[in-house]
Symmetry: C2
Subunit: 469 residues, 2 copies
């Protein structure tokens, strides 16, 4: 008698659920944790102070003639680097048409067609997700050093156009075997200053042990949320990545259904015609090039300037580069309302000349007030005066944050959530505005190019638990 | 004693569920219905025949000099209409770089920056959703008349650049009070022939009675599915809208999670650098302009030609226009596999010069074989020969369909689903390819610019129930 023949079981490929139902609650648990591997946020400040001392770092304004490797093209006047890498400053001619109303302008714009990586490495310690944050110097930040993502790298960075050191931890974001991707999406940067710039926003959960380094600390989401209550601690790159974190929406109800929200967005994209053509920076109408800066003839908007940087902690020790410097502090705010008990935010479909596709959703208010100071009240941007004059009891959040310090000098905005009522901000919102819940907006952040970078800063205050509406 | 004072109940604004959980099953029910207001598909053919007789329609090739209102710009050589409306034919210079491998080419391209509406009106009769389909003539279709969406209108159409009649039923798609939006999303058209063209794809459920017209019939989704099994009956515009219909995914499992699928898509977008610059059509390298056509010097790809049209059922009675005419029939196919019992499709991240953002997901195979006939087998496009030589027993679907007959002349492709195994198409797919379920791909179709128009044609065969994998 022979042994019975057993056919081998067919090797069933492992199917998995399309969605990880546990993930939002793991983030919620981390957002609730104010203590972790680092005891508290005071310890974060000690660490930042210590890193500030460890690295010498100085930024000086210089005339364009002292830029090293950068020059104005003799034909186009565009400002670029001799390697052809990094970015160029060019001219942009924008024409928009909305319901028959036309606008035209010229402006300098940063062109950097490559896609960079903004990535935060995530790992569970004692049952709580921690986020590996970097103390990073950026020349444009007023306080120079801020808390940044684990990796913040242009492709030039990590392919070494810098001729500098490797980017630490970048392998977790370029090699899928090193971790599990929790979020990975292309998002726009400032459409008023960049021409069609996107970066990958990534959250990756590390597999195995992660080597440590003095410039990095594991923080809970709740600790990052606490730091977001303070001025100029969490940098822009960290904020935009954190906005893309999962956010639980147990109730799943809203004033407008998801389909209605997306249909309104589609209507807004189709309602605006935007033509944005690159033109030479030389002779750009309305802009004047001096020795130290390129400025608008009326002194508004922003200038293009140059700086020299001496640093110890950067990939290379010293360099020069152009930066954009806005004229005045910005004000960026979501108006909020509880509708049927559920918090809603008033989003604004905004045209910015550098967007890939006509409009993205921004906060209710996103302006530099000094650019509008000369206008009569009736022509000032909608809802701006409501935010500037808000009753302090209605302000649910207020902090000053910097935009990306690698491209922008002293670009600070006051970020706010302001609670409103029907008289101030009706449910039947004006054209171009719509009420949506945090759950709806964070769901859109799983996809490209719905929400602009300013909206993402404010949403990071919600995903991190800095604000509970 | 006075009557008790009753405070009025606060008017609670009506919140609604973010998602309509009933909608997918309503579409499924319609996809199962092979009979409805129209008894069967034979009656659809009688109606089409009758409309064909009712409308005279003739298309003649003409030399460019006989185009009326269209001319080549003396400076750029671009072909446009004197009104500045409709579209222009311009030159495009494309340079792509993928993992260090570079490609460059020039080609004519259609530029039509305005966003059109492709809309199907939906209404329930006897508990079953019906779709209001139009018998519509288009000059580029070999059989001229096909089944089209309720509304298929460029903005020039419905703002009357044509000086023609109003577009019937367009108010349901432009006035939100006339119906309930079920889908509304911007989707790309052919990235090889159009420069960054998007149309709104809309499904709107009508509120109230809908007036009838001889050129229109209410069909169930199942009836449309039956017609999709036949060659050249359902036009491209109808197919792309139907692809955006909700599709139930009860199992909710897949080889790769939704996050992994989106991360792969992000990787593919970031992996390819694509520069596409508009250049003058005059002197476009590799292309020759004759009296009747503009052709590639090796006779490949497509030509630009001109036609004169005489019609009765169009918004205007007769006109002339340019069309693109491909050289040879295309082959467009999804390879499929059941993985763990769940059907999967092999999607391909494709670069096309006219895409808004580097890549979109296409079918596994999308080629015009004659363009590659001169190449040795090793250099032929991946999976093409597998589809061309497929065992008929493995072909789950095969039909010939036309691309948009308002812009393309005799642009026909053979559309297929071909079942495969591990030897032919491994689960560990080659770079640029990934296995995904129908549920995953139709979920992406709620958002802009994930799936190209050829993939959408094939997905419409699944949402309509023409094919069950």
């Amino acid at each position: 008698m022979t042994a019975p023949t057993v056919s081998p079981a067919p090797v069933a490929p492992a199917l998995r659920p399309r969605r990880d139902a546990e993930l939002p609650s793991r983030f919620t648990r981390s957002a609730a944790a104010r203590t972790g591997l680092v005891r508290d946020t005071a310890d974060v400040h000690s660490w930042l102070e210590e890193r500030r001392r460890a690295h010498r770092f100085r930024v000086d304004r210089i005339p364009f003639t002292e830029l090293d490797g950068w020059s104005f093209d003799p034909r186009t006047g565009n400002l670029g680097h001799r390697s052809g890498k990094f970015f160029t400053v060019e001219g942009l001619r924008v024409a928009t048409s909305t319901d028959g109303r036309e606008q035209r302008w010229h402006q300098p714009i940063i062109r950097q067609p490559e896609v960079g990586i903004l990535g935060i490495l995530v790992k569970e310690f004692d049952g709580v997700l921690h986020f590996l944050m970097q103390a990073k110097m950026e020349p444009g930040n007023r306080n120079l050093l801020q808390v940044s993502p684990t990796v913040q790298a242009t492709r030039s960075n990590y392919t070494k156009a810098h001729k500098g050191a490797d980017v630490r931890y970048v392998e977790y974001f370029t090699d899928p075997r090193r971790g599990r991707v929790l979020a990975d999406v292309l998002q726009s940067e400032h459409g008023s200053w960049f021409f069609r710039k996107s970066n990958r926003n990534m959250l990756v959960e590390a597999i195995g042990d992660v080597p440590e380094h003095d410039d990095f600390r594991w923080l809970t989401l709740g600790q990052i949320g606490e730091l977001l209550l303070q001025d100029n601690v969490i940098n822009m790159d960290a904020r935009t990545v954190l906005a893309c974190a999962p956010f639980p929406d147990a109730e799943g109800v809203s004033l407008h259904s998801d389909t209605a929200l997306r249909s309104w967005f589609t209507t807004e994209r189709a309602r605006h015609d935007v033509s944005a053509e690159r033109v030479p920076l030389a002779g750009l109408p309305g802009w004047v090039r001096g020795e130290h800066s390129i400025d608008h003839e009326e002194g508004r908007y922003f200038g293009v300037v140059a700086v020299g940087v001496h640093a110890g902690s950067r990939e290379v020790a010293s360099w020069t580069q152009p930066l954009f410097e806005p004229k005045g502090e910005g004000v960026t705010a979501f108006l909020t309302r509880r509708i049927g008990g559920v918090p809603h935010l008033l989003v604004h479909a905004r045209v910015e000349g550098g967007f890939l596709d006509t409009v993205e959703l921004g906060p209710t208010v996103q302006y530099t007030p000094s650019n509008y100071a000369h206008l009569p009240p009736a022509e000032r941007p909608r809802f701006l005066d409501l935010v500037l004059g808000a009753d302090p009891a209605r302000i649910r959040y207020e902090a000053l944050h910097s935009e990306e310090g690698g491209r922008f000098l002293n670009a600070e905005s006051r970020y706010l959530f302001v609670d409103t009522d029907e008289d101030q901000a009706p449910l039947e919102a004006p054209p171009g505005y719509l009420w949506a819940t945090t759950g709806q907006l964070t769901a859109l952040l799983r996809h490209n190019h719905y929400l602009n970078v300013q909206a993402r800063t404010l949403l990071s205050c919600l995903t991190s638990g800095a604000v509970r509406l």
